[in-house]
């Protein structure tokens, strides 16, 4: 029923070729435990499918229930501006219980980011507008919680264990 209203484009953070037969879009929240559970599953899918899968991650921070979700998402975008989106993305999901400002700065340093630029952009909320666009594109597309996945533009309502996702993706590729 629900379809992705904002197609995957250069605007997105993408892993894998955009020409891949299957595009998987995740709307997620770095502080959401369910997204944390889905994180290694997506990695496994990418490993198994290789170039046959294009994966895009869009932020959908539920800021009212997750205290650090917004700043964590801003940190990923700030890292993205320095071409380290995915490195920060992985770090955040691997440290879901440590997403306060102090830790975010530590991660930026560890990833070798320009720290003063990172701090400035975090303080100025430079990516808040972009994050709002992501959130609204999700809301328009029928995102009803996190994580929500879209396979080739169609909302995936099944369970997000490896077997279910893999078979849905194989079906979409067929």
């Amino acid at each position: 029923m629900s379809d992705l209203t904002l197609p995957v484009s250069e605007r997105d953070h993408i892993q894998g070729p955009m020409t891949a037969p299957v595009t998987l879009v995740e709307y997620g929240d770095y502080q959401c435990p369910y997204c944390g559970q889905a994180y290694p599953i997506v990695k496994e899918l990418q490993q198994r499918l290789g170039d046959r899968l294009c994966f895009a991650f869009r932020n959908f921070p539920l800021t009212q229930i997750h205290q650090h979700a917004q700043q964590a998402a801003e940190a990923a975008e700030a890292a993205g501006a320095q071409n380290k989106f995915w490195e920060m993305h992985d770090t955040l999901f691997e440290h879901q219980r440590a997403l306060d400002d102090k830790h975010l700065k530590e991660y930026a340093a560890k990833l070798g980011l320009d720290e003063s630029r990172f701090s400035r952009e975090m303080a100025e909320h430079s990516y808040a507008v972009r994050l709002r666009e992501d959130l609204l594109s999700g809301a328009r597309s029928g995102v009803n919680g996190t994580p929500t996945f879209f396979i080739n533009g169609e909302r995936y309502d099944g369970s997000y264990d490896l077997v279910s996702l893999l078979s849905a993706i194989e079906d979409a590729a067929a």
Binding site: Y34, L62, I65, A139, N144
Partner: protein, 173 residues
């Protein structure tokens, strides 16, 4: 006799109210000392979200999602109201826990009475359906949707319905 008739009515609920129907008014408790009625909102659109129960799992929670999208609903000048059969103290605790910034009304006594007038009371379960209504500034239902109870319907339908409402100039007299 009248009791039997009443029970039959509840057992065979009228179908869900659809577009073009005047939205039935209600007056329900929002806090231990406050009541909210639908008619108070006349002049601006209202989103009614009937839902089965407070305290569903956090991240997939419909009310948490709407709370996040409240600024977007406000862009359409629309008010959001959540309604379930939970009591007012339960709503209060839930609101506080989830930091909700819109009222939750208790359709508590007589249980499900408001839901019943909208055709969205599940007699067999004693809870409201997961049902959405977008009501225009004049109090007419413009869109309604009933989701399977276990499925969070998201907000896309609401946003589309709000967009389709006549412009403010047309609804103000």
């Amino acid at each position: 006799m009248s009791k039997v008739k009443k029970e039959q009515g509840i057992l065979n609920p009228t179908s869900v109210l659809g577009p073009g129907t005047p939205a039935p008014d209600f007056k329900l408790q929002s806090t231990p000392d406050q009541f909210v009625s639908l008619s108070e909102f006349r002049g601006s659109p209202v989103i009614l979200a009937f839902y089965p129960a407070d305290w569903s799992p956090v991240c997939g929670d419909q009310m948490a999602l709407y709370n996040e999208l409240l600024p977007e609903f406000h862009r359409f000048n629309a008010a959001l109201i959540g309604i379930s059969v939970d009591g007012v103290w339960c709503h209060l605790a839930f609101t506080k826990d989830r930091k909700l910034r819109f009222p939750l009304l208790a359709d508590f006594e007589p249980k499900g009475a408001a839901a019943h007038t909208y055709g969205v009371y599940r007699q067999q379960d004693g809870i409201c359906e997961r049902a959405l209504f977008v009501i225009d500034a004049k109090g007419t239902i413009r869109w309604s949707y009933v989701s399977p109870v276990g499925v969070n319907p998201g907000a896309d339908g609401i946003l589309t319905a709000l967009e389709a409402l006549p412009s403010k100039q047309e609804v103000t007299k």
